[in-house]
């Protein structure tokens, strides 16, 4: 019986080139800068931790109080300059990535990002 060898199609070179060009885009560097600024913002990090704690508490006895405080924390968080800058930078990067994905998907003949999503073990 004759078997036909099918060489594995490697996309590594194209991946590296594409990633390099994306990382050189102003929207990408602005996003990384905004991310680092948010990470370094102690007030933002404190509010994130408080928000996470309140989120857990909302399942227990003082749910009402926790929910009210959560909304206050969220409001304070949304007003921070580092948060606003991060959200704006993320929006710009998303726009870029969606455009890149549209080109990839058209060439590939299949939606790339949608079908490349990892699913959780629960099918989510």
């Amino acid at each position: 019986m004759t078997t036909t060898y099918q060489p594995e199609v490697s996309v590594k070179a194209e991946t590296d080139l594409l990633a390099g060009l994306i990382k050189a885009q102003p929207a990408f560097t602005a996003f990384m800068k905004a991310y680092q600024a948010l990470d370094a913002d102690q007030e933002a990090q404190r509010l994130i931790q408080e928000g996470q704690s309140l989120n857990s508490r909302m399942m227990f006895d003082d749910a009402e109080a926790a929910r009210a405080r959560f909304h206050e924390v969220l409001e304070q968080f949304n007003q921070l300059d580092s948060v606003k800058a991060y959200r704006q930078a993320e929006l710009a990067l998303r726009e870029l990535m969606c455009l890149v994905d549209a080109v990839i998907s058209e060439s590939a003949g299949i939606d790339f990002a949608v079908n490349a999503q990892r699913r959780s073990c629960c099918g989510g």
Partner: protein, 120 residues
């Protein structure tokens, strides 16, 4: 926003390389066979339209009537049993497994989660 020429060229080359993979080729062939069959295509489209409608209504807070859900399940079983739809589904799952790996490699190269950012 439009993409810079070199980035668009690289994205296109990346997509074309994906297309070359046997698993993507198998999926495209199965998809073409399905689309060429009017009856199978109509069944597939009817099932998908019903699914999207039920999902949208459920997400809007509606309690879906049991009878409608049962009708959808019956139609879905019929669609999944159709050989052309089953083949398209099988090859799509295989293609997805490949694309998940490629997506992960791209995310590692970028240092950010590509799929989280590239889906509208």
């Amino acid at each position: 926003m439009t993409l810079p020429e070199d980035l668009e060229k690289a994205a296109r080359a990346f997509g074309l390389k994906l297309r070359d993979h046997p698993l993507i080729q198998e999926y495209l062939a199965a998809k073409q066979k399905l689309e060429a069959d009017a009856e199978a295509r109509a069944l597939d489209e009817r099932c998908e339209a019903m699914r999207l409608d039920l999902v949208a209504r459920q997400q809007a807070g509606e309690m879906l009537p049991r009878a409608e859900v049962d009708t959808y399940y019956a139609l879905n079983r019929q669609a999944r049993a159709h050989p052309l739809i089953a083949e398209r589904d099988r090859t799509l799952q295989a293609a997805k497994a490949y694309l998940v790996q490629v997506g992960q490699d791209l995310s590692v190269a970028l240092g950010v989660d590509y799929t989280a950012l590239a889906i509208d």
